[in-house]
Structure formats: structure tokens, C-alpha cells
């Protein structure tokens, strides 16, 4: 099941070769927070922190109050597309910080 998005993602991107290994140097990553969609093109080895900061700056949000999730997994600043096994065209979801009390 976990392989589904990976396999499904490649046909959508005809340029991207199949599989994570030997993938092109650059990835197109969509970052969305339901309202906005921003596309980033980054290297596989670039830390996603850069992307996160850029997105937050563009949207005028503080990084502490948002959560970047990749397939439900929290993205760490130090993560790279490689460590998350991201593919070209993958989506980072931006969620608000979850807070609850009552």
C-alpha cells in the first residue's frame, strides 16, 4: 500500500524515471495548505527546511505554528527528499499546529 503513491506518481510524471534510485537531481514538490499550492523545485539532497522556510515566508506564517506532513509523517527541518523517499510531484501538506483543550 505504501508503494502505491510511489508507483502511481511516476506515470503522472512522464519525465521522471521509475523508482527512487537514480532519480533526476531535481524534484518538483507541491506544497499545499488547502488554500494555496506552491510548487518548489529542489534538489534531492536539499534540506526541506529551506522549502519550509520559503513557504512560511511567502504565506506569512511562523514556522512554529505549522506542521509539514509528508504522507502523514511530520517533516523535519533536516529531512531531505532522499530521506523521505520523495518522488517528483509529491505533495507536502501543510497543517496548522494541532491544539486542543476542551
Amino acid at each position: 500500500m505504501a508503494d502505491n503513491p510511489e508507483n502511481g506518481g511516476s506515470p503522472a510524471q512522464p519525465d521522471a524515471p521509475v523508482g527512487g534510485a537514480g532519480a533526476p537531481e531535481h524534484l518538483n514538490i507541491k506544497v499545499t495548505d488547502n488554500n494555496n499550492e506552491v510548487f518548489f523545485k529542489i534538489k534531492r539532497s536539499t534540506k526541506l527546511e529551506k522549502l519550509m522556510t520559503a513557504f512560511c515566508e511567502r504565506q506569512g506564517k511562523t514556522i512554529a505554528s505549522v506542521r509539514f506532513l509528508f504522507e502523514g509523517q511530520r517533516v523535519q527541518p533536516a529531512d531531505t527528499p532522499d530521506t523521505l523517499e520523495m518522488q517528483d510531484g509529491d505533495t507536502l501538506e501543510v497543517h496548522q499546529e494541532q491544539v486542543g483543550g476542551c
Binding site: N4, A64, E71, G72, Q76, H95, E97, V99, G100, G101
Partner: protein, 1181 residues
């Protein structure tokens, strides 16, 4: 009407004509009329020349004659004289003012050049006369209904405009003017603004404005909510004046409704015809109202208007009165430089500039020698002495008045009949044309008036224009004549108003209101006209005497207008009184009187001097340096209060000092015995008494006592005397005697001393024995008393025995035997004869029986005692037995009670044990059901001080610093601690929840010795559930992989913790594959969960297990957990519940809601510590 006056059209021209600065003060008064005339031009006479030309005012008319006609503005104001325009007359002239002659009335309609005349009501008579009556009366009332909201061109008006074209607004304007006139409204016509912008910012119900400076192109604005056209003064509903009413339907297309028609109209209007209704109908039918008050919405509006008028009546009254007061106070003078100091007379004077008709004379040179000297006090006093005159014409002179009147009438007649006047010529032409046939002065005057009013008339001007100017000037002249004639009639000939005033006021006074305000306005115009004549008279051959008379007349007119004393009507000593030869009062005297007046006569008094009048203030003229100009301090506010002194009353007694009461000292407490005790001092009387008593005893009983007691009495006497002596001598004497005694003793021989010592010893021994015996006796007595008491109480003895025993105990038995013996010895030793001895001598025989009796009695007594003792013993024994029995009884009861108690305790114990057993059983059952057990150690123990301080440090750390990392790893910063965890009411965020729960799972797995990929306790982050719910179970593979949950190891896992954040509320879903249970713990519901959530989780489990899923094995259970009772702790509940379930502990038994504040700190410490290790290990729980 400032609004009107301020419009440029109205004043520019007249101003332009004016050159003399002295004219300025008159400007205000002149403006009103100017504006009105200017406006009038619009509605009247489209045929009138030069629409853009300025209108001439009366002021302009007057002044322009003064000035050289050089001003370029040469517009005509032909419409100003349009006799056919009924709107000209602002107020109908009162009959008294109008010297109505048939000849005067005649020419009005044929001369009308106006095309609109047909629409208007026929003009009333004497428009020309009314022409000049405009005054500024309307100005203040206009302000009453000022409304600042912008106007709109309403649909109604637009339709009308479209229907009727340009003339609509003009006709409306005229209709309004007519209505004002006919209802005797003094408020004046609506303002005509220069542009729409002006009109929108202006005031009034209807605001007329011109388009493109084209006077004919008039438009009108109306406020949307305002249907009235009229001002809301009283006149709005006033009936039409009778003189107009009869003309109402003349020459009109409309006629008055007949009675039958009224009914018909009323039916159409849908209401019963009433008187009011009929009136309204009548008004509606009239041509005037047809335009201004369309029938739609009229009835409602009429009511509203009436109501408003009723409601506003008092306000209007008040405003009217106020206005009248102000008007009277100001009464047309302009006050400049109100207070000046006149050094000559050393007083404050007020300079009042008089109206314009006086000042041009000054410029003319007729009073150049006058420099407005201050009025001397005696002159001002003369006003106080003024009396009503007997002959009103005396001051000016009857002939003079008649001359003037006759010539004016002649002029008027000549103009009306066009006899002997020529015009329409320039100056040169006129000079050439004038012949003997013509009335040369009149022609010249009309020409001068025309030049003054309309500018210089050149020969080259078109003849038609010149003629037009001439005609208008002639009309103006005619109007002036009529005004002046009416003025002369009223003031000098007609006695009516004079008599009225004289009756009303025995003494002349100011303000003096002659006739009504209209008349006074007319009089001003007349004054203007007369001024013109007086100024120009010299040129045209008016005699000096006549000019003098004119000047006085002008002064009268001015006084009428200003409501002052009319010089002709009063006799001022020294001026026009009979006893004064100064019968010819020249103009300068008048100036003197009226130009500068002492401040006092103005009654302008500072408020403070009214409030704090000074006695001399009335007489002494005000000196500017006088300190009363300073405001006196109000009493009691600024003045320091006087110091209070005690009342000087004779009965005043100062209050006693309380201290005295406090310093009271007990004399007893303070007593110290004197060193020398004084002898008892007896008063002489007492001593004598005692002496007497002694003497009495000596005398009466002395022999008997001496016989009976021998020396007893003498000894007694001796002792008595001795004591007295001692008392008298005092202790000193005793001391002295003692020392004497001692000295005597010293003198004694050894033998004697020995003897004495022996004797003393004996005495002492005797004394000792005696004392002992005394004591014994006392004891004996006591014993006896007791015995007697015992005897009395003896229940056994018979009364006889008792009495005997009592006898025994009395008498000598009182004395113990030994003592008695001693006493006897003593007695025997004593040399003195005692009574006892006497008795004993004779009672020897009795002694035996006595002793026997005593013996007997004693024995008896002893027996009694014995018996009593026995009885007592028996009684005591009985009591003892009784007590014993009681004690036994009690003991027995106690024993029984104890037994019962023990029984009860035993039973309770059993019960408790059973209870405990049952509870344990239940717990076991619950545990068997959920696999949960009660905790074996407190779940939330307090944390150490060290950790407390570390938590505090974390809350105060640098916000940018990373304080610790969770297992994900997510860096935690100060924000997560300070804002999201530590405050007691903070809402927890995902970092804290996920961090804590991952640490928990890690602890369980580490403790079990398994890896997180083959966990005993698996934990998801809070992002799992939303994704699961939104995307479905197939999209959470990555998260499951990360949590180490696979189909293969699913049943090896004991607990799967799923924190959920939904709608700002943290809950926990728990899957326990070992127990095959799915639960959802919501702390707000005390552990019970949400069915939908459970279904989602069950769907995930089902999907994960695929073929391993056996539906009937799995249960969806509700677990019990402490209930959250606030709005902020759910996150802490979630984590704590997760801890319990991961440990397999029953949450309900493990903690309570009150522990959660501590738990917050504890969780912070755990996060800082990096998991449940070390100090925070959950081992043992």
C-alpha cells in the same frame, strides 16, 4: 437673512457703488433688502434688462446718490420696481402706514409687464409702498428651521420640471413668495443659491438655485423627507390676510370650491368634510397652493404641520421673545468700540454709530465741524427729565412740516400723473431740456436718484435704457415720497399712536415702540428718502430752514426706527422745551445727543457689579481703574475661613479634665502608718460623758460594788483611770515610764532581781498554762458543741433524754473540768473575792450532785454516742452493700455491651472482608474484561525540586533555543513548554502529545526488551487519525511502517495508542490486539468514546488484518477513566490515559483530575529528560 445677504449677487453691486467708508455701518441693515430685491428679479420680469446685473438696494439707492456715479456696475433693477409683482411686499403694510389713495392704487395692473402675472394672485395695493419695507426682521427666524441636510431634486419636482419646463421653479418660487405675503409671514422668501452645490449645503425646505448663472433657469431642491415649502413659523397656518383673500381668485384660472364641491373633494380624499378640511380644500384649490402643496400626502402633512406648530408654539414664543429682546437691545445700531475712556469728562462712553442716513450728512459737510464730542452728564440727564410734549410739531415747526409734506405730496402727484417731469436723459440733455413748465427740482432729484441707483447716465446710452432707468428712479422716488408722507402723517399729524404710548407710559422711556415693526421698517425707508432729499436739497434749491427741518425729521425717523425717544415727541429741557430759547436745534446738537452716550445710560452693567452692587456705583461714574472690575471672590470659596473662637458666654464651663478621674488613688492603698501613733483623741464632750458615766457608777453603785467586789471596782476604776491617763499622756509617757521602770529595776539588788525573775518565771509559767488551758477549753467547747449537735441529731434518744443531756452539756459543763479546777486554784490564789467564791461558799452540797449529774449525763451521752455510732455503722454497711450491688450490676451491663460491640465489630469486619473480596473480584473481573489492573504505585508522584527548577528554566529559556527533542525527532522550544504545556489552563499542542506518547511507547518496548519495529506498545502521532479518516486505511502505510505495525506482528502488540485531535479536543483511541478490543477514551465523557471514531479505527484494524480479522473476536469497549471537568486539561488526560493503558493499569484507579497540574510539570520534565527513564521511570506502577 444672512444666507441671502451672503450670496454674491446681492451685495456686490451696492457695495460697488458705495465709496464712502462711513457708509459701512449701514451695510448690515441694507443687505436684507438688497438680497430680497436681487432675488425678486428672478421671478419677475423676464423682460427686465440684464439678468446678470446687480440689483440695487435701498441702501444702494441712498448711497449711490451720495457717491459720484462712477461705479461701473450699471445693471438695471427694473424688476425691483415692478408693481405687478405681488411677492415684493414682504409684509403687507398696516393701514396706518399707507396713505392709501385711490390714485396710488390705480396704476398697478396696467403697468405690469410680467408674463407671470396671470399665474400669481393679483397684486395687492400699495406694492410700491411695500417695496421698501424689507428689513432684516426675518433673519433670526430663518435660523429656527435651519436644516443642514442636503437637498435632493425630488421625483415630484423632476416630473413637474419635465412637464412644465423652465417656468416650474420660477412659478413655485413666486407662489411661495405670494403665500408668505398673503399670510403675513415675516420670514422672507426662500434663498436662491448660485449653484446646486451651494443649494445642497444651504438651509431651508426648498432651495432654489440658478443654473449656468442664467437667472431664468431656476431649479429647486427639496429634502427628501421634507414636504413643506414654508417656514414653520406661525404664519405657515395663518389665514390669508383679508385684503388678499378677496383677491384670491380674481383673474385666476381657479375658483373657490362651492360647498357641494367641498364635499365631493372630501369624498375623493376619503375623509369626512370638516371645517378644517374645507379650508384645506380651499387652499388646495387656490392657484397658489396648487403648485406648492400637491395633494398627494397633503392631509397627512397638514396634520403633522399643525402638530409641529402646536408643539413648537412655546419654543417659538420663547425664541420670538428672545429675538425681540435682542432686537430691541440692538435696535439697529451698530456698536463699535463699545467702551472708551473719555479723558475730558473722565467717564466711560460708548460710541454708537447711527444709521446710514445720518452719516452721509456728515460727509456732506453739513456737520463737519462736529467731532462727536462726548455727551456731558447733564445732557444725558436731560433724557431722564424728558416729558411727553404737548405739541408734536413744535420741535420742527408746523410750517416746516406742512411745507415738506405738501412738496412731497406734490412730487408724488406729479410722478403719478406724469405732470411736469421729464426723464430718460443724461445730465447734459436734462439741463438743456428743462424748462419753466417742468418741476425742475423734482426732475433733478429723480435724475440724481437714477444716477445714484443705476450709475451715471451718459448721453450716448441707448434711449430705451435711459428711459427705463428714469422710470425706475421715478418709481423709487414715488415710493420714498409715499413712505415719507405716511411717516409724517403718523408721527406729526395722527395722534393715535402717540396717545397710546402716552397712556401706556406716563414717562417717556426707551425702548419706545411706535406702531408695529413694519411701520418702523417703513420709517427707516422714509428716513433714507428724507436723507437723500436733505443731502441733495441744496443742489436743487431746498432752503436751509427746510433742510434743518428735514434733519430733525430724519432724527425722528431714526428714533422711531431704533425705538428710541422721538425728539419731537418729548420735551428735553434745554432743547425743545418751551422754557428753552434754544428753539433751533441744529443737526450738530442732535449728533451730540445721539452719537456718544455714557456707558451708564446703556445699562450695560458688568454682571459682577449687578451681583455685588456698590452703593456709590449708581452715582459715581465708572472709572476704569476702579477695582470693581476685578471679580470679587465668592464668599466662602476663596476667602479663608475665619478662625473659630470659643463663645464668650458667662455660663461657659470648661469640660472637667478627665485625667483627674484617672488619677484617683485609694487612700488605703497609699496609707503608711505614722511613726508616732498619736493617743486617742476624744472630743471634750465624749470625755466628759465618760467621766460622768464613771462618776455616775461611783456614786450609785460604788458602795455596793465596793461591798460586793471589794477592790474590784476600785481596781476597775484604777485601771480605767490608768488607761485614761495613758491615753492622755500618750505613748511617750508610757515609754518614759517604762524606762523609769527599767531604771528602777537596775537599781534593784541581785536578790530582788532573782526574786523578780522567779516571780516573772512563775507568772510566765502560769500564763503558759493558762493559755494551754484556754486552748483546751476552746477545744472542749468545740467538742461540746459537736456533742450537742450529735445529741440533737440523735435519732435514737428520746426527747427527755435529749433534754437531760442538753442540760448536762450546758452550764458548767461548758468549762472543762481541768480548767475549772485551775480557775478555782486561781481563784483561791487570788486575794480578790470573786463571785464564784461567793457562790461556791453556798453550793458545796450542790457540787456533788452537780458532778454526779455531769457524770450521768456524760455516760448517757456516751451511750448515745455509742448507739449512734452503731447505727451509723449499720447504715454504712447497708450502703456499702448497696453500692457493691450496683457496681456489680453495672459491670455486668458493661460486659454485655462489650460483647455486643465485639459482635458488631466482628460482623463489620466480615462485611468489610466480604466487600473487599467482592471488590477484588469485581476488579479482577474488570481486569479480566479489559486486562487492566489497579496501580501498585502512584502514577503521578511529585517531582523533585531539581526537576522543578529545570522545568522553570525551560519556561524561561531563550525562545530560539532547542530545549530537547522528541523521538520523531521534533525539536521542542520554550514555546512548547511555556505556552502549550506548563500554564494550568494551557491547551496542549501536538508536539507535547506526540512527544509524550512516543516516549511512553518507547519506554514500554525498552522495558519489554523489544525494538520499536516489533513493539509491545505501538504509538501513532496525532497526524495518523486525520489522514486515516480522510484518505482511508490504504494511505497510512508509511505511518504504520514507522510505528512498526504490520499484519504479521499485529497480535504481538499489546497496545496501540492513537492520539486524536478533533475540534480542538484531544482524545485517545486504543487498540489492544491482545484483548481484541477497540476503545476510544474521551476525558470529557469519563472514558466513553465516540462511535464514529471507533468505527474508523475498526475499519483500519479490519483492513490491516485482512484475512486474520475475525469479527466476533473483536469487541468495541468503553473504558472508564476520570472525567475532565474543565476546558483545558484534555491533552493531559489523553497522555495520562495512554500511560495507564500502556502499563495495563485501570485509569480510573490510577489518578484523579486534581493531579493533572502536577502531571503537566511532570510531562515537561519527562520531555526534558528524554523519556520515561531515570527519575521518571514507570517501573513498579
Amino acid at each position: 437673512m444672512p444666507a441671502q445677504a451672503s450670496t454674491p449677487r446681492t451685495t456686490r453691486n451696492s457695495r460697488g457703488l458705495r465709496r464712502s467708508p462711513s457708509v459701512e455701518p449701514a451695510d448690515d441693515a441694507g443687505r436684507t433688502a438688497t438680497g430680497r430685491v436681487a432675488k425678486r428679479r428672478k421671478k419677475s420680469a423676464p423682460a427686465s434688462v440684464a439678468a446678470t446685473a446687480a440689483a440695487a438696494s435701498h441702501l444702494g439707492f441712498a448711497n449711490a446718490l451720495v457717491a459720484e456715479p462712477t461705479a461701473p456696475a450699471a445693471a438695471t433693477a427694473a424688476d425691483a420696481f415692478n408693481p405687478a409683482n405681488p411677492a415684493h411686499a414682504h409684509t403687507p403694510a398696516p393701514p396706518a402706514v399707507q396713505p392709501v389713495t385711490p390714485a396710488h392704487q390705480a396704476p398697478h395692473s396696467p403697468a405690469s409687464p410680467e408674463p407671470l402675472a396671470a399665474v400669481c394672485t393679483p397684486s395687492p395695493p400699495s406694492q410700491i409702498a411695500d417695496e421698501l419695507t424689507f428689513a432684516s426682521v426675518g433673519t433670526p427666524t430663518r435660523a429656527q428651521y435651519k436644516s443642514d441636510s442636503p437637498g435632493y431634486e425630488t421625483r415630484r419636482f423632476k416630473q413637474k420640471q419635465a412637464l412644465e419646463g423652465e417656468k416650474f421653479a420660477r412659478e413655485l418660487y413666486q407662489a411661495i413668495c405670494n403665500d408668505h405675503l398673503m399670510r403675513d409671514c415675516c420670514c422672507g422668501q426662500p434663498t436662491i443659491y448660485n449653484s446646486r452645490e451651494d443649494a445642497e449645503t444651504g438651509t431651508g425646505h426648498l432651495r432654489f438655485y440658478t443654473v449656468d448663472s442664467n437667472r431664468n433657469n431656476l431649479r429647486v431642491l427639496q429634502r427628501k423627507d421634507d414636504l413643506t415649502h414654508h417656514c414653520q413659523c406661525f404664519s405657515a397656518n395663518a389665514p390669508i390676510l383679508p385684503q388678499f383673500a378677496k383677491h384670491l381668485n380674481e383673474g385666476s384660472r381657479k375658483r373657490k370650491a362651492t360647498d357641494s364641491e367641498v364635499e365631493l373633494i372630501a369624498q375623493v380624499e376619503g375623509s369626512k368634510p370638516s371645517k378644517k378640511q374645507a379650508k384645506t380644500v380651499e387652499r388646495a384649490l387656490s392657484p397658489v397652493n396648487e403648485l406648492e402643496q400637491p395633494s398627494s400626502g397633503q392631509s397627512m402633512f397638514v396634520n403633522l404641520q399643525q402638530r409641529l406648530a402646536t408643539m413648537g408654539a412655546s419654543v417659538f414664543n420663547f425664541i420670538g421673545r428672545t429675538y425681540q429682546t435682542i432686537w430691541n437691545a440692538n435696535a439697529g445700531h451698530t456698536v463699535h468700540d463699545t467702551r472708551t475712556h473719555d479723558p475730558v469728562h473722565d467717564q466711560i462712553v460708548v460710541k454708537r454709530f447711527k444709521r446710514q442716513y445720518c452719516l452721509p450728512l456728515e460727509d456732506d459737510g453739513s456737520s463737519t465741524d462736529q467731532t462727536k464730542p462726548a455727551l456731558s452728564p447733564d445732557v444725558s440727564d436731560q433724557f431722564q427729565q424728558a416729558k411727553w410734549t404737548t405739541d408734536k410739531t413744535k420741535y420742527i415747526g408746523r410750517e416746516n412740516i406742512t411745507n415738506i409734506e405738501v412738496s412731497l405730496r406734490r412730487h408724488a402727484h406729479a410722478i403719478r400723473k406724469n405732470i411736469g417731469i421729464i426723464g430718460g436723459l443724461s445730465r447734459e440733455e436734462l439741463k438743456a431740456a428743462l424748462t419753466e413748465e417742468h418741476d425742475i427740482p423734482l426732475c433733478l432729484l429723480i435724475h440724481l436718484l437714477a444716477e445714484a441707483e443705476f450709475g451715471p447716465i451718459a448721453t450716448s446710452d441707448p434711449g430705451e435704457e435711459k428711459l427705463n432707468k428714469f422710470q425706475q428712479a421715478a418709481r423709487l422716488y414715488l415710493a420714498g415720497c409715499d413712505r415719507a408722507i405716511s411717516f409724517i402723517n403718523n408721527i406729526y399729524h395722527d395722534d393715535r399712536s402717540f396717545e397710546n404710548l402716552r397712556i401706556a407710559y406716563p414717562e417717556p422711556r426707551t425702548p419706545l415702540s411706535v406702531e408695529n415693526v413694519d411701520f418702523r421698517m417703513h420709517t427707516r425707508v422714509a428716513g433714507d428718502f428724507l436723507t437723500f432729499i436733505a443731502r441733495k436739497g441744496e443742489d436743487v434749491g431746498v432752503s436751509a430752514e427746510a433742510r434743518d427741518a428735514l434733519a430733525k425729521m430724519i432724527a425722528d425717523a431714526k428714533a422711531v426706527h431704533k425705538q428710541e425717544l422721538i425728539p419731537s415727541w418729548v420735551e428735553l429741557p434745554g432743547h425743545n422745551s418751551p422754557d428753552c430759547d434754544d428753539s433751533v436745534l441744529d443737526l450738530s446738537s442732535i449728533m451730540k445727543l445721539f452719537d456718544e452716550t455714557p456707558l451708564d445710560s446703556f445699562n450695560i452693567e458688568p454682571v459682577y457689579s449687578v451681583k455685588y452692587p456698590k452703593s456709590e456705583h449708581a452715582t459715581v461714574p465708572v472709572v476704569p481703574e476702579e477695582p470693581e472690575l476685578l471679580l470679587e471672590p465668592i464668599k466662602g470659596v476663596l476667602k479663608s475661613s475665619r478662625e473659630f473662637t470659643a463663645p464668650v458666654s458667662p455660663s461657659y464651663v470648661p469640660t472637667p479634665q478627665k485625667k483627674r478621674r484617672l488619677t484617683f488613688e485609694s487612700p488605703v492603698a497609699k496609707f503608711t502608718p505614722p511613726k508616732k501613733v498619736p493617743p486617742e483623741l476624744k472630743s471634750v464632750v465624749v470625755q466628759e460623758e465618760e467621766q460622768n458615766q464613771l462618776r455616775y457608777y461611783d456614786q450609785n453603785y460604788g458602795p455596793f460594788l465596793a461591798g460586793m467586789f471589794g477592790d474590784v471596782s476600785s481596781a476597775f476604776n484604777e485601771r480605767q483611770r490608768e488607761r485614761q491617763r495613758q491615753d492622755l499622756l500618750g505613748r511617750e509617757e508610757i515609754g518614759r515610764r517604762n524606762s523609769e521602770e527599767q531604771a528602777r529595776r537596775e537599781l534593784l539588788t541581785q536578790d530582788e532581781k532573782d526574786e523578780e525573775r522567779r516571780r516573772e518565771e512563775e507568772e510566765r509559767a502560769a500564763e503558759t498554762r493558762r493559755r494551754r488551758l484556754d486552748r483546751e477549753r476552746m477545744d472542749w467547747k468545740k467538742e461540746l458543741r459537736e456533742k450537742r449537735l450529735a445529741l440533737e441529731r440523735n435519732p435514737v434518744m428520746t426527747p427527755e433524754t435529749k433534754a437531760k443531756a442538753m442540760n448536762m452539756l450546758s452550764g458548767d459543763a461548758k468549762t472543762p473540768p481541768e480548767y475549772r479546777k485551775f480557775m478555782e486554784e486561781e481563784d483561791s490564789k487570788s486575794t480578790t473575792t470573786t463571785r464564784r467564791k461567793l457562790w461556791q461558799k453556798h453550793e458545796d452540797d450542790l457540787e456533788i450532785s452537780d458532778s454526779k449529774l455531769v457524770d450521768l449525763q456524760l455516760r448517757q451521752q456516751l451511750e448515745g454516742e455509742l448507739q449512734a455510732q452503731l447505727e451509723r455503722q449499720v447504715r454504712e454497711k447497708k450502703e456499702e452493700q448497696k453500692r457493691k450491688q450496683e457496681a456489680e450490676e453495672r459491670q455486668r451491663i458493661e460486659e454485655e455491651l462489650r460483647k455486643q460491640e465485639e459482635e458488631r465489630q466482628r460482623r463489620e469486619e466480615e462485611q468489610r472482608r466480604e466487600e473487599e473480596k467482592r471488590r477484588r473480584r469485581e476488579a479482577e473481573e474488570a481486569a479480566a474484561r479489559g486486562g487492566l489492573r489497579p496501580p501498585t504505585a502512584p502514577l503521578i508522584p511529585p517531582i523533585s525540586d531539581e526537576w522543578n527548577s529545570r522545568v522553570k528554566e525551560a519556561a524561561n529559556a531563550n525562545p530560539a533555543n532547542e530545549l530537547c527533542q522528541t523521538l520523531e525527532p521534533i525539536p521542542l522550544t520554550r514555546r512548547d513548554f511555556e505556552e502549550k504545556l506548563l500554564p494550568a489552563t494551557a491547551w496542549l499542542n501536538d508536539n507535547v502529545i506526540n512527544g509524550s506518547i512516543l516516549h511512553l511507547a518507547d519506554y514500554i518496548n525498552k522495558k519489554a526488551g523489544v525494538t520499536n519495529q516489533n513493539p509491545k506498545c505501538a504509538a501513532f502521532t496525532s497526524y495518523f487519525y486525520p489522514r486515516l479518516k480522510k484518505e482511508g486505511p490504504q494511505k497510512v502505510a508509511r505511518l504504520m511502517r514507522r510505528a512498526g505495525i504490520r499484519k504479521a506482528n499485529f497480535f504481538d502488540i499489546e497496545t496501540i495508542l492513537i492520539p486524536i485531535c478533533e475540534d480542538s479536543h484531544w482524545t485517545l483511541a486504543v487498540v489492544r490486539p491482545g484483548q481484541r478490543t477497540i476503545s476510544h477514551i474521551d476525558s470529557l465523557k469519563a472514558g466513553r468514546g465516540d462511535d464514529e471514531t471507533k468505527a474508523v479505527i475498526q475499519g483500519w484494524v479490519e483492513k490491516t488484518l485482512e484475512d486474520k480479522w475475525v469479527r466476533r473476536e473483536w469487541r468495541v469497549v468503553d473504558l472508564e477513566a476520570p472525567k475532565q471537568n474543565n476546558g483545558w486539561d484534555c491533552g493531559v488526560f489523553t497522555i495520562t490515559n495512554a500511560m495507564c493503558l500502556a502499563l495495563g493499569v485501570d485509569p480510573k484507579a490510577a489518578y484523579g483530575p486534581q493531579q493533572l497540574t502536577l502531571q503537566r510539570r511532570r510531562l515537561a520534565a519527562v520531555l526534558l529528560n528524554g523519556g520515561f527513564v531515570g527519575d521518571f521511570s514507570l517501573d513498579g506502577v
